[in-house]
Symmetry: C2
Subunit: 349 residues, 2 copies
Amino acid sequence: MAGILILGAGAMGSAFCFPAADAGHSVRLVGTHLDLEWIYSVRETGVHPKLKMKLPGQVLPFTHDQLSEALSPACDLIVLGVSSAGIPWAVEQLAPLISNTTPILLLTKGLQARDNTLQILPDSVRDGLAGHGVKNVPVAAVAGPCIASELAARRHTSVVVGSSEATLLGSIVPLLATPYYHVRPSTDVVGIEVCAALKNFYALAVGYPAGLLARQGKAGNGALMHNLAATLFAQALAEMTQAVSFLGGRQTSVMGLAGVGDLYVTCQAGRNSRMGCLLGSGLRYSDAKTNHMADETVEGAELAFVIGPTFDRLFRQGRLDPKAFPLATAIIDAICHDLPMEIPWAAFH
Amino acid sequence: MAGILILGAGAMGSAFCFPAADAGHSVRLVGTHLDLEWIYSVRETGVHPKLKMKLPGQVLPFTHDQLSEALSPACDLIVLGVSSAGIPWAVEQLAPLISNTTPILLLTKGLQARDNTLQILPDSVRDGLAGHGVKNVPVAAVAGPCIASELAARRHTSVVVGSSEATLLGSIVPLLATPYYHVRPSTDVVGIEVCAALKNFYALAVGYPAGLLARQGKAGNGALMHNLAATLFAQALAEMTQAVSFLGGRQTSVMGLAGVGDLYVTCQAGRNSRMGCLLGSGLRYSDAKTNHMADETVEGAELAFVIGPTFDRLFRQGRLDPKAFPLATAIIDAICHDLPMEIPWAAFH
């Protein structure tokens, strides 16, 4: 039995309590200041209101100001389940309290603009902690299809845990396996993390046809727009492959659970698809966000604001070929420049 | 303006009339003996009952016994839109009437068992015609996401036309492009055709979770089974990559429209998904087919009967590694041996 601390009590962090507890570990769930009500609810009734599930009995809930208490006795694994915007906060909170021997596992997905390129979050966390004097912390990340509510319902899924250090994988992967949470190791942490972030971004495009269909209506023969969605799905993967390769990851990761698997599930449900649908229905991003999804974090759109300016710079510097990213460009135009979203047919190849 | 003859007036063959006619060509649609009622309907009202659309005015309908008439004057392209089971019939009908200078374009998808391995249909057609004395006929094939009713409604899609001969591609591709039918060339005809066939087979597996969900019901928190479907989708692609590689195709085709694009669309709708759903609901194949889909051709199941014995032989000969095909094996067990379908978790890697 290991001690696992999960920081971030949103849907994903809290859902992770299930495999962690079912694998026989003691689990401490620490909410951020945004998760107060959920922690109170878990404390009082055991039920997480967003997951609509009672958490396993061995999960101990803590509020953000109890992080130090939750970390004693020291745990064997720290899991980060905060939002991508919450990463700097998490690093600041953890730095004074942890040693550089406790591994960190990221559930959070995203990319950060840095040094004229994009950095995966495990590197941001490691660099951030090092900046606070905690150097060389081993950091791994989870990618692959994993809708939180399904994980909490103990429904089957397969994921990938990635780290460039094989020994770290060897210690983390066996901790997490349960009969319904199937975990595979990958040494291509760059590849899986770029996929994990970009799938939210490209799901905006694959969601577009559903909105276009709502705007144009069913055809006289009842035909929908699955062909268009499939075209965009394939284009998204082609561009993800280019991006992964540019950032130093491997193409096989795009073909696997982290790439095609997670893009598939993200296109079946969720906020990114919904935003894409709103864009397809003819709304500008500003209108869709303000009037339809004001209180929701659309990770793919947040990411557009990160990668938009970076891609633009990389295009201008000739380091990245804009011809390889027509769909990304259309998404960036729609999100960052609030233009109507259009499918750039002529630029697909 | 070219003359295009389409043999096979089912949904796909007839839908192909739309881009062919909209690209400005004269189109002759020849039904098989199974398509008689549809040809009569097109003749009388212009409407194709299965597509629920009026065909373009310049489409001339012919019955199967008028093939010779339909081929005079000679046409510039013959399109085969029959079912995979209809290929030998089509070859027999065409052989006495065509020269070896008219290219043939296959819409039909499938694989044939031959010489202890699997053969793509363009090769079967070329060999079949050669057996009737018409040698070296140029044969190409279309792959990629293309639901017939959507094509007939002139909704956007992107497809790939494949042939090992670049000059053939150069003559066919420009004939077909319209503002909604986006055609790209590929010299990897083996890769795209193996994908085009296998996507039907693997869609049986990706459809499985919907049936399992119906059997087990929604979770208490409303969770569905998208994670499981995504896992199977990724596994399907991994196995398709192995099969394509074994049969001499290229991995890039699996990552493109013919592979991931067509598998995506096939998993969103259609008979293969529906059969998979019935298997997931707990029915044996024999029961599902006889009592729920008796009058429908389930191409993925038909293909299982072709590749099942061939894979089995290749496994025993050590030419193919069964460990690389756990999902295929589960599908073959369910279809060919009428066993309950199970997900072989332990064998996924």
